[in-house]
């Protein structure tokens, strides 16, 4: 029994994973579905292993029965050959004992072996499905779910489900069988003793169940506190520069101390509950056995029971303690597995974004056209206005349009609509006359290349990171894209463009990452290009060089460039000013400086600055 607890208690948690379980979308208020119904949803996956599962359950049941048979055989030996000093009769019984012993070992081995690979495979299949599903869910879904939440579904929850199939499921069946069989055996020995031995079953079961209730609450709390603690550690490490700069590690340490004491209190409470439970679990059956022993001895003395039967009875009674005690834990584990299953299907049940587009090509060259485009984030407060409330904008074919607006005006959001990372709430966007919703998403994203404000690199080589913008492109394209982005530092990396970067590789500076992200966007001459403040992390020298090279690329595509600064704006043919969810003005840099006070303010920082005199480039 001890091990069970051991196992059920320790799915691989990293502390941070389960922290915000309650905060998880949908998890908080969702009414608990029935455990059985949740678990039944595992069937499509379990189907593939149902044969093996049956073998395992059978092997485990037979194994347990052989375990039960051992004391019976021992009893026979004591009562038969030994009582009568008949050695000839001894041999068959000892042979039987050996046989049953080998059978027991073989069955236990079989129970584990048949399930090892299939269940690991099942876990892999489920995790693969989860991963594939998650990759295809819209960005708005990922905005709602922290990656920690998703990670715990892909690791800890999978582990819980696999473990459930390997162990609690099998033993819920086996232990029930065993309990019934053991009870039958006891009754055949002596019904009076059997009744005594069964007396603690009901109280034990009730106790473990109710204990489980309290304990799971405490252990959820401990998990949360563990998560909070992990968050403090995480922040103290990620924000180490700030803490050091202000000499504030003491206040952080104070917070850590307080929270770790809280965790200690919860853990001690858990230990307290556990101590109580163990005291009962250990004590109650022993007391009952003491009674059974007294009564049994009395019966033997009065020749109402054979000595062998008493031995066999006591062994059986002891053997049945585990199935009874374990029932509470097994049910608790089934509960936990049901929760894990729910969490898994919560993601899988998420509706796919429809992708009905069938158009293959673009129509006449018309550039990018936004018509009456509106957008609000699904989680925006109900009383807030739409972030974009009617965007009308035309970027002519071959033109570069700069998008300018105050911080928080929705520039980045607007650019994310183009590759349909978010779906516009209303209005239409067309590329060369084709509504982007009519294009298959895959095709659309091949057409539109993006460089994001936050330059993300993946754990792969520089080459792979850049060329993912244009599968099939070769060395020539790689070279020219790196040249455009002024990423000459790549040549000086240990293995040039084949150097591994990202989380598991070499870490690059912000400016270096930004240049690679830019190279990724421009590689393979995309028809439409979206650049989100592509030069923010570059120093003045590099910025000038990149601008020069970028100008050439922009000459051949239709581009939308989010700009914060005049230097970036100068890359564009025209500029659109975004304010209050609408395009406030469109024109050349000069025109806007002259006519649009808001633009003037954005570019020079001073609303009242006279436009004349400063206009000459």
């Amino acid at each position: 029994m001890a091990e069970n607890r051991h196992d059920t208690d320790n799915p691989p948690t990293d502390g941070t994973e389960k922290t915000d379980e309650t905060a998880g979308p949908g998890a908080a208020a969702a009414p608990r579905r029935s455990t059985v119904r949740s678990l039944l949803r595992l069937w499509p996956y379990a189907r593939a292993v149902r044969g093996r599962l049956t073998v395992s359950v059978t092997a485990a049941t037979l194994g347990m029965l052989s375990t039960l048979a051992v004391p019976v055989i021992l009893g026979r030996i004591v009562d038969g050959p030994l009582a009568t000093r008949d050695l000839a009769a001894l041999w068959p019984l000892v042979g039987l004992l050996l046989l049953v012993g080998l059978l027991e070992a073989g069955l236990f081995y079989t129970r584990r072996v048949v399930l090892a690979r299939p269940l690991a495979g099942l876990e892999t299949a489920m995790r693969g499905d989860l991963f594939a599903k998650l990759q295809r869910l819209p960005v708005s879904f990922h905005d709602r779910w922290g990656s920690g939440q998703l990670l715990s579904r892909a690791t800890a929850d999978m582990y819980t489900m696999r473990l459930f199939l390997a162990f609690p499921l099998v033993f819920l069946i086996v232990n029930s069988v065993m309990f019934l069989a053991g009870t039958a055996v006891m009754f055949t020995q002596d019904w009076r003793l059997a009744l005594i031995a069964l007396a603690p079953v009901v109280p034990l079961f009730v106790l473990t169940r109710s204990f489980e209730h309290g304990y799971s609450g405490a252990s959820r709390r401990a998990q949360d506190q563990n998560g909070d603690l992990a968050t403090v550690v995480e922040e103290s490490v990620l924000g180490i520069r700030i803490l050091k700069a202000f000499g504030r590690h003491r206040s952080m340490a104070e917070r850590f101390r307080a929270q770790s004491h809280e965790l200690r209190r919860t853990e001690l409470h858990k230990a307290h509950l556990l101590a109580n439970l163990w005291a009962v679990i250990v004590g109650l059956p022993e007391i009952v056995l003491a009674c059974a022993l007294a009564v049994g001895a009395y019966l033997v003395a009065h020749d109402e029971l054979s000595a062998g039967s008493l031995v066999a009875f006591l062994s059986t009674a002891l053997a049945l303690r585990w199935p009874v005690e374990s029932l509470g834990w097994l049910l608790a584990y089934a509960n936990e597995a049901a929760t894990a299953t729910d969490r898994f299907f919560e993601v899988l049940d998420e509706p796919d974004t429809p992708d009905p587009g069938t158009a293959t090509g673009l129509a006449a060259p018309d550039g990018i056209r936004f018509t009456g485009v509106r957008f609000r984030y699904p989680d925006a407060p109900a009383d807030s206005p739409d972030l974009l409330s009617g965007i009308d904008l035309h970027v002519r074919s071959g033109e570069t349009m700069a998008l300018v607006g105050a911080t928080g005006s929705g520039k980045t959001t607007l650019t994310a609509l183009l590759p349909r990372l978010y779906e516009a709430t209303a209005g239409t966007i067309t590329l060369d006359g084709r509504d982007i919703r009519d294009l298959p998403r895959q095709r659309l994203r091949e057409t539109v290349a993006v460089a994001f404000e936050e330059p993300t690199l993946f754990s792969a080589t520089v080459r792979e990171n850049v060329l993912m913008g244009a599968p099939g492109a070769g060395d020539e394209q790689l070279r020219s894209a790196l040249a455009t982005a002024q990423a000459d530092f790549v040549a000086r990396l240990p293995e040039g463009p084949d150097t591994e970067v990202g989380e598991q590789g070499l870490s690059l500076s912000g400016g270096q990452r930004q240049r690679l992200a830019l190279a990724r966007a421009v590689v393979g001459d995309p028809a439409f290009l979206v650049l989100d403040d592509p030069l923010s992390a570059l120093d003045v020298h590099t910025e000038a060089l990149v601008e020069r090279a970028l100008r050439e690329v922009l000459g051949t595509t239709t581009a939308l460039v989010v700009a914060h600064r005049p230097s970036t704006v100068l890359l564009a043919d025209r500029v659109a000013v975004l304010a209050d969810g609408r395009i406030e003005a469109v024109g050349t840099h000069q025109e806007l400086l002259r006519d649009c006070p808001h633009y003037r303010e954005l570019m020079s920082g001073e609303a009242a600055l006279a436009p004349e005199g400063s206009a000459a480039p």
């Binding site: 069970n4 027991e104 584990r112 072996v113 163990w278 022993e286 993912m468």
Partner: protein
């Protein structure tokens, strides 16, 4: 654990598998530092794990002794059961037949006594050991945390955040598991094996000896399991880690993943690590199956042998029937713990690895050490000048690999001066800033603040003197107001809001759902990089330091934001010493003096006007920049 585990229970319980702790992968910092040294892990000094363990256990010696004593007695009470059964059969029943119920009453009373004593002791043991365990974990967590905070930045840049986080989480978890379950289990298993061995020998030394010989093959099987499972365990840890990295990387970068249509390629790459992890998991399960099967066969063979031998002895009348009965009952118990041992070995292995890593971290000494005899800064005499004089004297800095970043460097910044430092990436600007903030110590030479070497200042004194605002603008969980108040704990709400107002951050903060009380983690997901930088500035304003360092602190601001900051700086910096590192020349306008750096040297030094009017690099740069402007 301590139940009088009878066959069925112990025979086959639990999946007993190497639970692969998932390594915490911290989010990548916003600014990954260049790797100054490519050490994979820090070396663990020999003996460090043991010394750590000793220092942790030491203070709890008394309580550990109590726990041991309690469990010793408890096990004795626990193991008395079958012995009493034997007595009942051999003495009490015959006595009862002679109408003497005394022995039966005595035996029953004895059994009851044990049945009551053992749970009480069990209770005491769990309580005492839980307290010891939790105190040890508390202490260890605290040590890791405090130590990580004490360690210098160069360490943090090398040892990624994810690694430190997993020291404090998953490694602690591994230890917790061993402490709270494993050790207790081992202890009880060990004790019960000892007791049973002694009892077996006492019951009948011939049968006892034969039984105990079985320990040899069982130990061999356990040893082979241990070494085989260790290999599998390592493999599954590695594959779990790469699985997690791949997973988090994909989910955190979902925008580029979708925009660049990486879904299929990612599916395939993920399938590879997923399969690796499945193989490792299954291999681990198979190892356990093999171990359980082998040891169970061995145990059952031995039991049969002993029963056979015992039967002969009984028939020869050199052994009593009751003794043989008790013997067989005990014998089954002797072999119960074999599965538990597999569990224990698994958790022991991961805990030992965890302890070693923690010890390695704790043994690492910070390179930027606290002074043994701290000095104090001279009092600020003149009230109009809030700044202090900064002097670099032959300051040189090189990475531990020997690569020189800053050749011997001399610079004097009079109190109250605002200095802008410009130059290309890699010119050494940031190194100057970090040395001044004492994030690093110089390899040679020194830096003085009003004549006092930075290394002689205690941290609180230093931080009253020098504060640095960096480009990275991390927000701590909590409200916006709390984030600003990091600058000066205990600042009033008015002061916090005033600082925000001064820097031009008030409007956007006020517009957040809960204003200054907006929880940045819950509702602040869309606080932009520029807005974060404003919060960082407000924090610095509130700190009110004598020397302020701004390292690329305006990179994400748009023009109006930057202008607001500059306006604020003009008033805030008045009378203070300031060092501004910038790649935007706009910042330079508020400086009294500009330094142009190239390859760790100052190549131009003068007032902004002098340099602009000159013909040097700065004049060129400035011209280019003016041209790009409105």
């Amino acid at each position: 654990m301590t139940t009088t585990a009878e066959p069925a229970k112990a025979a086959d319980n639990g999946p007993a598998e190497p639970a692969v702790p998932v390594t915490a992968v911290g989010p990548a910092g916003s600014e990954p530092p260049p790797p100054p040294a490519d050490e994979e892990d820090i070396p663990v000094p020999p003996g460090a794990p043991r010394a750590l363990l000793r220092s942790l256990l030491g203070p709890h010696r008394a309580r550990i002794a109590v726990a041991m004593l309690v469990i010793l007695v408890q096990q004795a009470a626990m193991q008395a059961g079958p012995l009493l059964v034997a007595v009942a059969m051999d003495r009490a029943i015959p006595a009862l037949r002679d109408h003497d119920s005394g022995p039966l009453i005595a035996v029953t009373a004895g059994y009851l006594f044990c049945a009551l004593l053992s749970p009480v002791l069990q209770w005491v043991f769990i309580k005492v050991s839980a307290r010891v365990n939790q105190d040890i974990l508390l202490e260890l967590r605290g040590r890791i945390f405090r130590h990580a905070q004490r360690l210098s930045l160069d360490f943090h840049e090398r040892y990624t955040s994810g690694r430190i986080i997993s020291r404090a989480t998953s490694d602690i978890d591994a230890l917790r598991e061993l402490l709270s379950e494993g050790l207790q289990e081992l202890l009880t298993v060990f004790l019960s094996v000892c007791y049973i061995s002694v009892l077996l020998l006492v019951l009948d030394w011939r049968l006892g000896l034969v039984s105990l010989v079985s320990v040899v093959p069982l130990a061999l099987i356990a040893r082979s399991f241990r070494s085989r499972s260790r290999r599998v365990y390592r493999r599954s840890r590695t594959s779990a880690a790469s699985l997690i990295v791949r997973f988090t990387e994909t989910m955190n970068g979902i925008r580029p993943v979708q925009a660049f249509r990486r879904e299929k390629a990612n599916d395939e790459a993920f399938a590879v690590v997923n399969r690796q992890s499945a193989t490792a998991t299954a291999d681990g399960l198979l190892e356990i199956a093999r171990y359980v099967g082998l040891s169970r066969v061995t145990a059952n063979l031995w039991i049969t042998g002993v029963v056979l031998l015992g039967a002969y002895l009984v028939v020869e009348d050199s052994l009593e029937l009751g003794v043989l009965t008790a013997f067989t009952l005990y014998l089954r118990r002797l072999y119960d713990p074999v599965d538990q041992l597999a569990m224990f070995l698994n958790s022991y292995q991961s805990a030992a690895a965890a302890l070693e890593k923690i010890a390695g971290l704790l043994a690492h000494e910070p390179t930027v050490a606290e002074p043994a005899e701290p000095k104090e800064l001279p009092a600020l005499g003149d009230t109009t000048v809030k700044g202090r004089e900064v002097a670099f004297e032959g300051t040189r800095f090189a990475y531990r690999t020997g690569k020189e970043v800053l050749p011997p460097f001399d610079l004097r910044i009079p109190a109250g001066q605002t200095v802008a430092v410009v130059g290309a990436t890699g010119a050494g600007k940031s190194t100057v800033a970090k040395l001044l903030a004492r994030f690093y110590d110089p390899t040679d030479g020194r830096i003085r603040l009003d004549g006092v070497d930075l290394r002689e200042l205690a941290t609180p004194e230093l931080r009253r003197g020098v504060v640095m605002v960096t480009q990275e603008s991390f927000l701590f969980s909590g409200t916006v107001a709390e984030n600003i108040a990091i600058g000066r704990p205990g600042a009033t709400r008015e002061e916090v809001e005033q600082a925000a107002r001064d820097i031009g951050a008030y409007e956007f903060v006020a517009a957040l759902p809960d204003g200054f009380d907006t929880d940045v983690r819950k509702r602040g997901g869309r606080i932009s990089a520029g807005q974060r930088q404003l919060v960082a500035f407000a924090r610095a304003l509130l700190a009110d330091p004598a020397v302020l360092i701004l390292d690329e602190a305006t990179s994400s601001l748009d023009v109006p934001g930057e202008q607001a900051v500059q306006r604020a700086m003009r008033t805030v910096l008045a009378g203070r010493t300031a060092v501004i590192i910038a790649h935007r020349l706009s910042t330079v306008e508020i400086a009294d003096r500009v330094l142009v750096m190239d390859q760790g040297r100052i190549v131009e030094d003068g007032s902004p006007q002098e340099l602009i009017d000159g013909s040097g690099r700065f004049a060129d740069l400035h011209r280019a920049w003016r041209d790009s402007l409105v």
